[in-house]
């Protein structure tokens, strides 16, 4: 189960399911909603996301590019140690700003 919330002009995507092939369609819909108007500012809250698989990594990279095309960015927040390892091993982490928690991620947009 994933959901999108808004803090100011920042979209926060959070959820407690693994970021895998099965959950991609729902996430795509949420992320597409972030891309509709203006420059997307998205925080992907990974705090309660137990696992990311290759499809999930691909999704992150794809939407990072889509956001960048519109002058926006996706930031990752609070990945679990496992998720952080997955992101690090695949070097996907280098494409993202990773923050300690979603609040500081949201806060980083106002700087």
């Amino acid at each position: 189960m994933f959901e999108r919330s808004r803090t100011g002009a920042v979209n926060i995507i959070s959820g407690n399911d693994p970021l895998n092939l099965e959950n991609i369609p729902g996430l795509e819909k949420l992320l597409d909603d972030c891309l509709v108007i203006g420059q997307p500012r998205v925080v992907f809250d990974l705090e309660r996301i137990p696992l990311i698989d290759s499809a999930g990594l691909e999704l992150l990279l794809r939407y990072q590019d889509l956001c960048a095309e519109r002058g926006g960015v996706i930031k990752l927040a609070a990945p679990t140690p496992l998720c952080r390892d997955i992101l690090t091993v695949t070097d996907v982490i280098s494409r993202f700003d990773v923050l300690q928690d979603s609040l500081s991620a949201v806060g980083s947009f106002s700087r």
Binding site: R6, T7, G8, A9, V10, S14, N16, I37, G38, Q39, R41, E47, R48, E69, R70, G71, G72, L99, Q100, D101, S102, L103, S104, A105, V106, G107, S108, F109, S110, R111
Partner: protein
């Protein structure tokens, strides 16, 4: 250069050749004329001689008639003494010499084959004498009254001079041809000599006629000569320069193309919107971020549009009174609600535009929504904080001063005053704590320090904290706890604050004599703690903004009640940090129910 050491300059050579061939032909002509004249003169001499011969012939005939030919020998000898006459003789009709300059020859047979010639005409013939000299022989028949006396034979020798003259006479046509051929050769030589220059000249003329130097290509010369060689070098150099310059030009073109593409890519990669307007205010360039920021369809070509067309209808472009050359910066909001987007728009005159009337503008647009919201929050915060800090402080000061100022003998009243001071101090302390939490929240450093907590004790502590507030407003407070409560691994202080917040809100927004239920349900995987009140409730419109920091309902009843607008966002954050969430059910004027769910 070795051009300098060239033997002669062209003009000198031309002059030299001109003089050479001119003089040569003149000399040849003069020689020809002289020799012809000489020849003519020789002819004249011959005629004299012939006249002499005729004269002698006449004398001979007269002598024959009068004296029977006694003086013949003497006349022949006389003739033989003439210049150029080698010999003279009279051949008798019998073919023997009847007289001869050489007396020994008299009576000797001579040539008489010409004797049969008739008439008085002189016969000339050339014979070659024994010593190799060409001798011209004149035969003059001697006729006197029908009988032939013989024939006068005169041998004339042209000495060396005379033979050269004869030779010259033979080669007279050649002598005429001389100057002609000299002139012809001169023409050819001069033509060859001048050809190099002519080619160079024609090329130079073509260069001067062509509009730009690049249009004309110089041709190298094939014929030799230092001038041609020099010209070829020049041509080579020019060609080299032209290739270099054309290479440079094409390099520049491709570089410029690259530069343009790079600039284009650079501008499109900018998160800030950049656009250029011409002197009519029409857009001549806009990068990708520009149309995105102005919420225009990405496939729409913005060129030719003006700025006011692009901004939302309500947005006011603060450009009045701004001179065209003055940089302007202003903010544009998409709607009344800054959350919908706030743009900072800058307009700067393009550098290098001299005339103010024709000024082009560079527009920059950046999205400052988040900064704007943060600013607004800070302002709200400062505003709320000053009020919230001052109110209890003012009360404490007023009561303390009143206590010290007047002699209050009634111990009940004294106690009441002191209690008030105490509760106001508590209110102040609570607010300061809230501020601290919020500042952590703001800084994003709200971290949990989890520990095992006895939930029952925690809930009771929370209930005790808010109970006085409820009592003050005569609110009935109902606490429902299950029989057995588990231990939870939570951040005790933050968890407590969150629940106190919820109960405090319930107490604040529930009118006197209301009812509040504090209920805990243990689920299979989670714990649900709910606070239900019979308060003023939350309108449907304001529900989405409920957890926004510093949000305070516009409901007048809420505005009356002091609050920072931070409590709920803090509580939600605490729930989220614990891996749980905060749910709300509320109905305006009936009451609200907040449920905090945390994993067990």
């Amino acid at each position: 250069m070795n051009l300098r050491s060239a033997p002669q300059s062209f003009s000198r050579r031309l002059l030299g050749y001109f003089l050479l061939f001119g003089l040569t032909s003149i000399i040849a002509l003069v020689l020809g004329v002289i020799s012809f004249e000489r020849f003519l003169r020789e002819d004249c001499q011959d005629e004299q001689l012939l006249g002499r011969i005729q004269e002698v012939r006449g004398l001979l005939l007269a002598d024959q008639k009068q004296r029977g030919g006694v003086g013949a020998q003497a006349l022949v000898t006389l003739l033989g003494s003439e210049d150029d006459v080698a010999y003279a003789a009279i051949v008798a009709p019998d073919g023997k010499f009847s007289a001869h300059t050489k007396r020994s020859q008299v009576g000797q047979p001579g040539n008489h084959d010409l004797l049969q010639g008739s008439g008085d005409s002189l016969i000339e013939r050339k014979i070659r004498s024994n010593d190799g000299q060409t001798v011209r022989e004149y035969w003059a028949p001697l006729h006197a009254g029908g009988n032939t006396l013989g024939c006068l034979q005169v041998g004339v020798i042209h000495a060396g001079e005379r033979s050269w003259l004869c030779h010259m006479g033979d080669s007279l046509p050649m002598a005429c041809m001389g100057p002609l051929s000299v002139l012809l050769i001169g023409v050819i030589v001069l033509w060859r000599e001048a050809r190099t220059n002519a080619v160079i000249e024609s090329q130079l003329c073509a260069v001067s006629a062509s509009k730009s130097p690049a249009d004309f290509r110089l041709q190298p010369l094939t014929s030799g000569g230092p001038a041609a060689e020099g010209w070829n070098r020049l041509v080579e150099q020019a060609a080299g320069r032209r290739t270099a310059s054309s290479l440079e030009a094409s390099l520049n073109r491709s570089l410029n193309g690259m530069q343009e593409r790079r600039t284009e890519r650079l501008l499109n990669a900018l998160p800030e919107g950049v656009a250029l307007t011409d002197k009519d205010g029409k857009i001549s360039y806009a990068n990708r971020s520009f149309s995105i920021l102005l919420q225009q369809p990405s496939n729409l070509d913005l060129r030719g549009k003006t700025m006011p067309e692009l901004f939302p209808a309500g947005a006011k472009l603060q450009l009045e009174n701004a001179h065209l050359t003055r940089p302007v910066v202003f903010e544009v909001q998409f709607s009344q609600n800054p959350t919908d987007g706030v743009l900072r728009v800058g307009r700067n005159p393009m550098a290098g535009d001299e005339q103010p009337a024709a000024v082009q503008h560079v527009w920059t647009v950046s999205d400052i929504t988040q900064q704007k919201l943060a600013d607004e929050m800070r302002n709200q915060f400062v505003f709320a904080a000053t009020h919230e800090l001052r109110t209890p402080l003012a009360n404490i000061k007023a009561y303390a001063e009143t206590l010290s100022m007047h002699e209050i003998t009634d111990p009940e009243q004294q106690k009441r005053f002191l209690n008030t001071i105490n509760s106001e101090a508590t209110r102040l302390a609570r607010f300061v704590e809230e501020l601290l939490n919020i500042s952590q929240l703001e800084a994003g450093s709200l971290a949990l320090s989890r520990q095992e907590v006895d939930l029952e004790r925690l809930l009771n502590e929370v209930a005790d904290k808010v109970r006085p507030q409820m009592l003050q407003k005569h609110i009935s407070f109902d606490t429902q706890l299950p029989v057995k409560l588990p231990k939870l691994n939570v951040d005790k202080d933050k968890f407590t604050s969150a629940l106190v917040n919820l109960l405090g809100n319930a107490a604040k927004y529930t009118p006197d004599n209301g009812h509040i239920t504090f209920k805990t349900v243990i689920g299979q995987r989670d714990v649900q703690i709910s606070v239900e009140d019979t308060g003023i409730g939350i309108s449907r419109e304001e529900m989405p903004k409920l957890f926004t920091k510093f949000f305070r309902s516009s409901d007048e009843r809420v505005r009356d009640i002091p609050g920072s607008g931070l409590g709920l966002s803090f509580t939600q954050e605490v729930a989220r940090l614990h891996g749980g969430k905060l749910l709300v059910h509320s109905e305006l004027n009936k009451g609200s129910q907040f449920t905090m769910i945390v994993p067990a």
